[in-house]
Structures are given as structure tokens and as C-alpha cells.
């Protein structure tokens, strides 16, 4: 971004406070803190995850642009200050936990897909996302085919027939088609401390690392 962050290292919120607001245990949060440290120091070690660091973590390439990664980043960055801090990271990841209620995932997905934040998901937004996905996978479908897919989707989801999907219609649609929320659950999150034994638990002394495998 070119500007110097003067706020310094983000103050670490008390894990037990965060745990209460999320599906994570305190131990999970400690393990996720190590992941956060890894991501947030990958380009600049400033205690925040920048867009480039996020892209690096996700794609292995800090310069890779993706409509979807942009949306996720914006959703994680509650304060819209251009970086993801630890609290934002954990609270956002909590949505992806297998135990998080469907209603939260449904609400999150709606905001994610509401690209222009109008409280509606319109045809043009859906088309933009479908095209982005096809481009990303090097798949090509004819314009008629894409239109047909979108028409069919709106036929099912747009119950009021006003050409756009509002939150109420989305809730109905997602409840009937739970597989559209597949990307909002990361099974790994259930067993962080056991799935990722290489996330070390640090003691107070910086140099001493106790590795639990």
C-alpha cells in the first residue's frame, strides 16, 4: 500500500474472549495464532495480513488476482482498513467451522455474493461470478449456456420475480440447496490442534519452542 503503519504490532486480544465469540476453543485459537503469524509475516512482519499476504497464502502467488479472494478478504477485514488483524481473522474463520450454525453461513454467503453491497444479489453479479469462476478454471461455455444457467437459477431463487435475490429469498434457496454452501465449511477447523501438529505452542521465552507432535 505504500504507507507506513504506525499502530505497530496489533495487540493480541485475549484468546478466551475470542473463544467465547466463536466456535473455537482457546487451544484452537493458540494454534491459529501460529497460522496467523505465518501468514502475517510472509511479506512484511507487521502483525497484519495484507491483501498480498492473503493471496500468497491462498494461491502461492502474492500477485494473483481473484474476485473471490477479494470478496473474502473484504469480509474478513471488518474495519475496512486494508488489513486483516488477528481478531478479525479468528472471528471470520469461525464462520467456516463445521459446528457453526447454517444460518450464520447463509448470512455470510449472502453478503459475500452481494458484490456491490446493495442488499440484493442481481443477475449481473451472478453472471460476473460465474464468468470469473469459468475463467479461473480455463473453462469456456457459450454465452447462451451461461444465460440459461443463470435463468434457471433465478427461476428457482427469485420467488418474488423482481429480477434480484434478497436475503429472505436467499435463505429459502440455500436451505433447499445446502450444497451451495459447501465452500463455507472447512473440515480441518474441527481438529486444528491434532490436524496441524507442526503448529508449535510457544512458551514465554521467544527462543524456546516446545514442539508437540
Amino acid at each position: 500500500m505504500g504507507c507506513v503503519w504506525t499502530k505497530g504490532q496489533s495487540r493480541r486480544e485475549d484468546p478466551s474472549v475470542i473463544a467465547d465469540q466463536t466456535c473455537f476453543s482457546v487451544k484452537d485459537i493458540e494454534a491459529l495464532y501460529e497460522l496467523f503469524r505465518k501468514l502475517s509475516s510472509s511479506i512484511i512482519d507487521d502483525g497484519f495480513i495484507s491483501k498480498e499476504e492473503f493471496q500468497l497464502g491462498l494461491f502461492g502467488n502474492s500477485k494473483k488476482q481473484s474476485l473471490f479472494a477479494d470478496r473474502i478478504f473484504d469480509m474478513f477485514d471488518f474495519k475496512h482498513d486494508g488489513v486483516i488483524e488477528f481478531g478479525e481473522f479468528i472471528k471470520s474463520l469461525s464462520i467456516f467451522h463445521p459446528s457453526t450454525p447454517q444460518s450464520e453461513k447463509i448470512a455470510f454467503a449472502f453478503q459475500l455474493y452481494d458484490l456491490r453491497q446493495t442488499n440484493y444479489i442481481g443477475r449481473d453479479e451472478v453472471k460476473e461470478m460465474v464468468m470469473a469462476m469459468l475463467n479461473e478454471s480455463d473453462l469456456i461455455l457459450s454465452d447462451e449456456t451461461v444465460q440459461a444457467i443463470i435463468d434457471k437459477t433465478f427461476e428457482e431463487a427469485d420467488l418474488k420475480g423482481d429480477g434480484k435475490i434478497d436475503m429472505e429469498e436467499w435463505k429459502e434457496f440455500a436451505t433447499r440447496n445446502p450444497t451451495v454452501l459447501k465452500n463455507l465449511t472447512i473440515p480441518y477447523l474441527k481438529d486444528i490442534t491434532t490436524t496441524f501438529p507442526s503448529f508449535v505452542l510457544r512458551s514465554e521465552v521467544e527462543d524456546e519452542i516446545y514442539v508437540f507432535s
Binding site: 497460522l35 501468514l39 497464502g57 491462498l58 494461491f59 502461492g60 481473484s66 474476485l67 473471490f68 479472494a69 477479494d70 470478496r71 473474502i72 474463520l93 467456516f96 459475500l112 455474493y113 451472478v126 461470478m129 460465474v130 470469473a132 469462476m133 469459468l134 479461473e136 478454471s137 480455463d138 473453462l139 469456456i140 461455455l141 457459450s142 449456456t145 440459461a148 444457467i149 443463470i150 434457471k152 437459477t153 428457482e156 431463487a157 434457496f173 440447496n177 450444497t179 451451495v180 454452501l181 459447501k182 465452500n183 472447512i186 480441518y188 477447523l189 490436524t195 496441524f196 507442526s198
Partner: protein, 144 residues
């Protein structure tokens, strides 16, 4: 599931939000994995062949390497009989219909050692699936 139910399932297509949810950018699991995406064990390809062709290719492959097969309307699971470094190698293929004549198949490791999976993919899986993969017009002038 009887024959007619199977047919209905196969002609159901994905809606736009299913397609969108398949996007890489929405998949946060690489953040948790130590390997880079290039080494990731997920294989995705498109095909204009019917689902039955994809399934029978996988069944033929399984037979040739003595893997067992379990299938449902849109999923095929292959499992090796020998225990490898991390148990039996198992692979799952999921078939998604973008349109009735354009499918996307996602293959991933379901169990077992990743190195063995990668070897299996390059030695057995990719060659077996090569002639049903549809590639974009630059490489192959067949339209979708």
C-alpha cells in the same frame, strides 16, 4: 437407487451458485495446508462425455490396478487393497454437470499417503483420463 432415479439425477444440472462455490478463490483450505497449491492433490477436468463414460473409465482403471470401486449417482470411490504408508490409498471422483453435456469432474485423495496418491495420479489416473478430458479451444477446436 433404481435406473429411472439415476437418470433424473444425471440430468439435473448445477445452478449458478453451485458453480460459483467450486471456485478456487473461495476455497480457504490452502491456508491450512503446508504444501503449495501446485502440489495440491486435487485434479479437476472438464469433459463433454456423459457421466457414464467417466464412471466406466474409472471402473476400468480400478480393475487394472486391482482397486475396489464404490459408486453413487455422481461419485466414484476407488480404494487400494494394500496398506501403504498411511493406510489404504483411496480416491474420490465427484461429477458435476454444468450443463447436461458439459461435466466437471473433481478428483481428490480421500485417504492414504499423499506421495502415493501423487504417484498414482501421474502414473495411472491422468493417462487413463487423458482421452476424455476436454480442453479449451486453443488446444482442441471442439466447442462445448
Amino acid at each position: 437407487m433404481n435406473q429411472s432415479e439415476l437418470k433424473v439425477k444425471q440430468s439435473e444440472t448445477l445452478n449458478a451458485f453451485h458453480i460459483i462455490s467450486l471456485s478456487e478463490g473461495f476455497d480457504l483450505s490452502p491456508l491450512f495446508e503446508e504444501k503449495k497449491r501446485e502440489e495440491k492433490e486435487e485434479l479437476r477436468f472438464a469433459t463433454t462425455k456423459p457421466a457414464s463414460s467417466v464412471i466406466s473409465k474409472l471402473e476400468d482403471l480400478a480393475k487394472s490396478v486391482k482397486f475396489s470401486v464404490r459408486k453413487s449417482e455422481s461419485r466414484v470411490r476407488l480404494e487400494g487393497s494394500e496398506r501403504g504408508r498411511k493406510g489404504k490409498l483411496s480416491i474420490e471422483a465427484e461429477i458435476f454437470a454444468m450443463t447436461p453435456s458439459f461435466l466437471v469432474v473433481e478428483v481428490k485423495k480421500d485417504g492414504g499417503d499423499t506421495l502415493e496418491y501423487n504417484q498414482f495420479c501421474s502414473k495411472e489416473l491422468r493417462p487413463a483420463l487423458k482421452d476424455i478430458c476436454w480442453t479449451s479451444p486453443a488446444e482442441n477446436p471442439t466447442p462445448a
